[in-house]
């Protein structure tokens, strides 16, 4: 029989016992729904974790260091030249690294400890420069009060919550609810901070600056001056997370736009000053890549250039492994209901054989082959699987959505940001329907072969 005829007869037969077949199909849909709901939560959680980690910049970032700084360390197994012959991590190296395929941007790690003055009071803290791209790529700014930098070179600052508390003279007491970010932001946003910093200037420019307290280098190689400068910064935002958490102990509490920080030529304690040139070289660069999967290859390419490079991609791999195991467990539990539903399919089809015994006999007498009869029962099982699968995906989608909704209400009550903990990707939709059809077909194996083997003479005698 042609496929269309098999499908047509199957649908007709299913309609003949619509109540029983509907119950069986509902059983399948409940099984598929449990599978989809479980996996949608597993996938959603995995995506949430991946998104958070990706946004944190930990997993799509390679930190590049000059191996010259490691000349005191043993590092026999490193790729590339010995530390002493390692190239300088300067502007040229930065642009070369930025041109590696898959690299989105390479920016220097600019951070320094300095004085910040507001309302006549001086506060000493760590300041860090943040690339303008962090606006969209760094989840630390998700809960930002105020706004992100208006431009890449704006004289603006974003404060970390603890520094805002320090500026306002608030000391959080242990065990009590801390002041909310919104409350801290109200008196601070729009205010001005004066930042004092040491500018690293070439000797020619420093000589023309009579007001500066220039400090000529003692050796021939240090061909630059250090000039004390001040810059007024407008407070435009407050964040309660640390956008630079990778740095651990050297956490900054005030953030500036990277381009602004670069234009200020701020003298940093970690800036290498061994270059004869007045152009700075860097101790480290942060290299952001398009996709965390590209990190190992790019890390290798940078190492081949003679620089040190490290990333946290291994941790990301472990996380993916954990979620794969979690998804597998969820899928197994979700499939149990589908396994029960498959027994329903067997039962329904065996009943159909008993009821349609004579009809099978007639069909065989009229020339239906065993394959035709088998195909017909397979098609009926497959149709139940298809309809049950589609209904189950819809039901599972609704269950996942409801769980997500409930979870977000809970998170909101706990003062946590809303999160999408549920996801039904297209592959899950198609996979669940496909799996449902396969399970149904497997369930139809026995009834279909039993129907095909029926003796037509016996079947025709059946009343």
């Amino acid at each position: 029989m042609k496929f269309y005829d098999v499908a047509d007869l199957a649908v007709r037969n299913l309609r003949e016992s619509i109540f029983r077949n509907s119950l069986t199909t509902i059983g399948i849909s409940v099984g598929v729904a449990s599978l989809v709901a479980m996996l949608s939560l597993g996938i959603g959680l995995q995506q949430l974790a991946s998104r958070r980690l990706q946004e944190s910049g930990l997993f799509d970032t390679v930190v590049v260091t000059s191996r010259r700084d490691l000349h005191n360390f043993r590092e026999q197994r490193e790729v590339g030249p010995p530390p002493a012959e390692s190239p300088v991590l300067d502007e040229g190296a930065r642009s070369k690294i930025a041109q590696i395929p898959g690299v989105v941007e390479a920016y220097p790690d600019i951070r320094f400890i300095t004085d910040l003055r507001m309302d006549g009071k001086t506060h000493l803290t760590m300041v860090a420069a943040v690339p303008f791209s962090a606006k969209n790529n760094n989840d630390a700014f998700d809960s930002l009060q105020g706004s992100f930098f208006s431009s890449a070179e704006a004289a603006e600052a974003i404060l970390q919550k603890s520094f805002a508390e320090e500026l306002l003279g608030i000391t959080p007491k242990p065990g009590t609810d801390s002041t909310s970010l919104a409350e801290l932001a109200r008196p601070l946003l729009g205010k001005e901070l004066t930042m004092r910093y040491a500018e690293r200037a070439s000797s020619s420019s420093s000589s023309s600056s009579s007001s500066s307290s220039s400090a000529e280098g003692q050796s021939d190689r240090a061909a630059y001056s250090v000039i004390s400068r001040e810059r007024v910064l407008k407070i435009i935002g407050l964040t309660d997370l640390d956008p630079d958490s990778l740095r651990g102990g050297a956490r900054a509490r005030v953030f500036l736009p990277l381009k602004l920080a670069e234009s200020l030529h701020i003298m940093q304690p970690n800036l290498r000053d061994t270059s004869a040139s007045d152009a700075p070289s860097y101790t480290s660069l942060s290299v952001r890549v398009e996709n965390p999967n590209q990190v190992p290859a790019i890390e290798g390419a940078i190492k081949k250039m003679g620089f040190g490079a490290f990333s946290l991609v291994d941790a990301s791999r472990s996380m993916r492994q954990f979620f794969s195991v979690l998804d597998a467990f969820l899928a197994i539990f979700g499939s149990l209901a589908l396994a029960v539903a498959s027994i329903g399919i067997v039962n329904t089809l065996v009943m159909a054989i008993l009821e349609r015994r004579r009809e099978i006999g007639i069909m065989k007498a009229l020339g239906a082959s065993d394959a035709d009869v088998r195909g017909l029962f397979f098609a009926e099982a497959g149709a139940m699987g298809l309809v049950g699968g589609a209904a189950g995906v819809t039901l599972g989608w609704l269950i996942g959505r409801a769980i997500n909704f409930g979870t977000n209400i809970y998170l909101k009550r706990q003062n946590f940001p809303m999160a999408q903990i549920w996801s039904v990707p297209l592959w899950l939709v198609l996979g669940a329907i496909g799996f449902s059809i396969v399970v149904s077909l497997v369930s139809g194996l026995y009834p279909a072969s039993r129907a095909a083997r029926l003796d037509p003479v016996q079947a025709l005698r059946y009343e």
């Binding site: 029989m1 042609k2 269309y4 005829d5 007869l9 007709r12 037969n13 003949e16 004579r358 009809e359 007639i362 069909m363 065989k364 007498a365 009229l366 020339g367 239906a368 082959s369 065993d370 394959a371 035709d372 037509p456 003479v457 025709l460």
Partner: protein, 245 residues
């Protein structure tokens, strides 16, 4: 030769007893013949018909239809044989209740993978030929017994078989309707040159329509008479009742 059975037997066990439903029957039926199988209930008429239809396999002996030794055919080949060579009409019509007359008549063509449009036209034509052109969308339950049997006949003939096997085609019909059906079968036998092998227990009906009558008793062929009274083969001795051992 359209049908040849060579010492064909069909025995089966029922508990401890061995039932000899068909017991060593040898008969030749020429193409275009109208043959009636006569005998009492349990004489083996339907069993012999099932063997010729390829629905059942002989315990021993051979059934050859249009050169095909049915015992040598696989299940798949037997299905094709039933589809293309044989048309069957049953006492209880055996139309599928959930299908309309048109769909019932189309059914064998679905198995033959005939194109949808073509088979609908052929089925309509076949139903018109048996006088049911106006009832094509009716379900079997909405028709009289005679109409159902005519639809069954239309279905049996749809694949233009060489051999029409009819198992008590008038058994569930009144005499007037039965006569209508028999007239139709005879017209197909004569106009299409189709071989007809019909099971009946009505001697008068067989004498009126069949050109040859095969009398069976206890699974054996006991008489083979042409309508003119000529005997075609030597008569085997008849035993009383169904033979078991």
């Amino acid at each position: 030769m359209a049908v040849r059975t060579a010492n064909v037997s069909r025995h089966y066990r029922m508990g401890d007893a061995l039932v000899r439903a068909v017991d060593g029957i040898s008969v030749d039926i020429r193409a275009g013949e109208f043959v009636a199988l006569l005998g009492a209930s349990g004489s083996g008429k339907s069993s012999l018909l099932n063997l010729v239809a390829g629905l059942d396999s002989p315990t021993s002996g051979a059934v050859t239809v249009h050169g095909n030794d049915l015992a040598a055919l696989s299940r798949e080949q037997l299905a094709k044989y039933r589809l293309h060579t044989v048309g069957m009409v049953f006492q209880s019509f055996n139309l599928i209740a959930s299908m309309s007359l048109l769909e019932n008549v189309e059914l064998p063509m679905r198995f033959a993978e005939v194109d949808r449009l073509e088979r609908a036209a052929l089925a309509r034509e076949s139903l018109e030929r048996v006088g049911l052109g106006g009832r094509i969308s009716h379900r079997p339950m909405e028709l009289s017994g005679g109409e159902q049997q005519r639809a069954s006949l239309a279905r049996a003939l749809i694949n233009q078989p060489k051999l029409l096997l009819a198992d008590e085609p008038t058994g569930n019909l009144d005499s007037r309707t039965g006569t209508e059906i028999m007239e139709l079968i005879r017209s197909f036998n004569q106009s299409l040159g189709m071989t007809v092998l019909m099971v009946t227990h009505e001697q008068a009906l067989a004498e009126k329509y069949a050109g040859r009558m095969l009398h069976l008793a206890d699974g054996k062929l006991v008489d083979d008479l042409s309508n003119s009274g000529a005997r075609e083969i030597p008569v085997q001795p008849a035993a009383q009742g169904r033979k078991t051992e």
